[in-house]
């Protein structure tokens, strides 16, 4: 870190001015980043007439949660007008098993690839890693046919399978890089004491895996919850996840455009991941950097 305070040779007025300018610039940038969130929240709390009369940045004169209620219970997704709630639960039903399965498999893979290395373990890891970078467009057509043949096209089960399969490379990467830094002696000592593969995993490895489990769960949850491509390609109608439903609500061309409902739906779709980010931001960043840059 280099900073003005430590190294600044300017004292007094110039220093104060520079600091003031620095904060001003940072505040202006925060306004830019917060602006869409502000617009989403205020618009969702306005009535339609107020939206038409007022401006983008005006606060709601009368705060009303009607749009939220409407979005949750009545908004039309395609021809179905029972709100976004069904699709919210679709996403929940899809995300929870997919996150859990991919994380458990990733942990086992990472452990097996680092602590009980076998010939070719590195090659297998490299081959799994490759899956993180494949543009999913290249697997869309075969996947839709495979899901069809398996009889799980247009179902939550199908989406769970897809997310587990393509999430595995990331979770394996996380756990592998984490376990590489854990001393092998720990495992060797336990092996000499007669502990087996799964005993060591359960008793020694898992209890010290807390931080990386959190990273993996957060990463997988945001990826799966936010996914649109797979949802749009492999689901339709009632089985669609929430992002697909949101897009249907917003891009519907019939009837009066209800901007407040659009914004409320968008907020409802974004809330779970925003919440995760606010509650566990540190781990979220770690997951982002670990997932994108080879650790």
């Amino acid at each position: 870190m280099a900073d003005l305070q430590t190294y600044g040779q300017d004292s007094g007025l110039k220093h104060t001015l520079l600091r003031g300018l620095l904060y001003l610039v940072l505040i202006l940038f925060s306004v830019y980043y917060l602006f869409p969130l502000f617009v989403m929240v205020t618009t969702s709390l306005k009535s339609l007439t107020e939206i038409r009369e007022g401006s983008l940045i005006s606060l709601p004169r009368v705060v009303t949660f009607d749009a939220w209620d409407y979005a949750w219970n009545q908004a039309c997704v395609g021809v179905e007008c029972s709100g976004i709630k069904t699709f919210f639960w679709n996403s929940v039903k899809m995300a929870i098993p997919a996150v859990l399965i991919s994380t458990i498999l990733g942990a086992l893979n990472g452990y097996a690839l680092t602590k009980f290395r076998f010939r070719g373990a590195n090659i297998i890891f490299a081959m799994l890693l490759f899956g993180c970078f494949v543009p999913f467009q290249v697997v869309l057509l075969p996947m839709s046919q495979t899901l069809g043949r398996l009889g799980i096209a247009n179902s939550t089960a199908g989406l769970v399978l897809v997310h587990v399969v393509y999430g595995l490379c990331f979770t394996t990467l996380f756990f592998r890089n984490y376990y590489v830094s854990i001393p092998d002696e720990l495992v060797k000592a336990a092996t000499i004491d007669g502990a087996g593969f799964f005993t060591i995993f359960w008793r020694i490895i898992l209890p010290i895996s807390g931080p990386i489990i959190v990273v993996s769960v957060i990463w997988q949850f945001t990826q799966i919850w936010n996914d649109f491509l797979f949802g749009a390609s492999f689901s339709s109608g009632d089985s669609a996840p929430m992002t697909v439903a949101l897009n249907n609500i917003v891009n519907t061309t019939t009837g009066v455009k209800q901007y407040n409902v659009d914004m409320a739906s968008a907020l409802l779709t974004g809330l779970p991941t925003l919440l995760v980010y606010i509650l566990a931001g540190k781990y979220f960043v770690r997951g982002l950097t670990a997932g994108s840059v080879k650790g």
Binding site: A2, Q137, P142, L267
Partner: protein
């Protein structure tokens, strides 16, 4: 005693070695089928006569020829160059700038970092929805400026086929620049303090310290960020769908939306597969050299 227990432990050891193979086997098999198998499958479709239904009769390069004859594909490629170029450059500049600013012992650094990074937690569909509303010429920014008294203000990029792709850049930069900032901030914190102190003792000014020493020393992060952003740009799909739907017409199409449209709306499976293979080739051209150098570098350090 020694002999029997050593055979026993040998047996245990070999069982355990096998156990680790057995544990990895399902994931490996899944990746063989769902990643490598599917790539071959798609490659095969791109060489077939598939249109509405997949048929596996060999057609040579016909689908690629059709692809490259399509005006729409050229628009998508051109858009990818515009979008990718601007997206990467602006994200790098903005991310680097924000990181340097945040690196000055800022009072509320934690809060600001949270503010700059939260868009990354949102789905591109959510981001697209909001920006679509903000950029809506009749109701959003344009109307706001009119209300503020700037009557001649015009901002109709969203519905202007020459500029629609730039609105995608605006929203994408908003979403991803905070992430670049986080990468740079982490790197800045890792720069050797002694070098900076020495440069300062020599009388170098702060901007010179940054431009001459700190930023060059975090060069690898630039490379990583470029790779990540380029990868994101090639895969960009959701944001375009939510923001412009590829329109007006197909003026803001990207290869990802092109591929999807051909596959699921136009019943052009062969062309769609060919475009997917082009995308794969692009990503590989970026990722493979990068991974190769990273893995080799890792070996040297380890």
């Amino acid at each position: 005693m020694g002999a029997s227990s050593s055979t026993e432990s040998n047996l245990m050891a070999s069982l355990q070695r096998n156990l680790s193979k057995i544990v990895v086997a399902p994931s490996f098999a899944a990746s063989l089928f769902f990643v490598y198998g599917f790539i071959i499958w798609t490659a095969w479709m791109a060489f077939s006569k598939s249109r509405m239904m997949p048929v596996y009769d060999w057609a040579g390069l016909r689908q690629y020829e059709r692809l490259w004859q399509m005006e729409r594909w050229h628009v998508a490629i051109e858009n990818l160059l515009i979008f990718g170029g601007l997206f990467i450059v602006i994200c790098l500049v903005l991310g680097c700038l924000l990181a340097v600013l945040l690196d000055q012992r800022i009072r509320a650094e934690g809060v600001l970092r949270t503010v700059f990074l939260y868009p990354m937690a949102l789905s591109f569909i959510v981001t697209g929805t909001v920006w679509k509303w903000i950029l809506n010429p009749g109701l959003g920014l344009e109307k706001m400026m009119h209300d503020l008294g700037w009557a001649s203000f015009k901002f109709d990029w969203l519905v202007n086929s020459d500029f629609a792709i730039y609105t995608v850049v605006i929203a994408a930069v908003w979403q991803a620049s905070g992430f670049v900032m986080a990468m740079f901030l982490a790197a800045l914190r890792g720069v050797d303090q002694d070098i900076i102190r020495a440069a300062y003792m020599d009388g170098a000014s702060l901007p010179r310290i940054y431009f001459g020493i700190i930023i060059p020393s975090i060069r690898p992060v630039f490379l990583s960020a470029i790779v990540v952003l380029a990868h994101l740009a090639v895969k960009s799909f959701d944001l375009v769908i939510a923001l412009t739907g590829g329109g007006p017409g197909y003026s803001s199409d990207l290869p990802a939306t092109f591929m999807y449209t051909m596959a699921f709306q136009r019943n052009q499976l062969g062309v769609s597969a060919a475009s997917a293979m082009m995308m794969l080739a692009t990503v590989m051209a970026i990722i493979v050299p990068y991974l190769y150098s990273e893995l080799r570098g890792g070996k040297k350090n380890g």
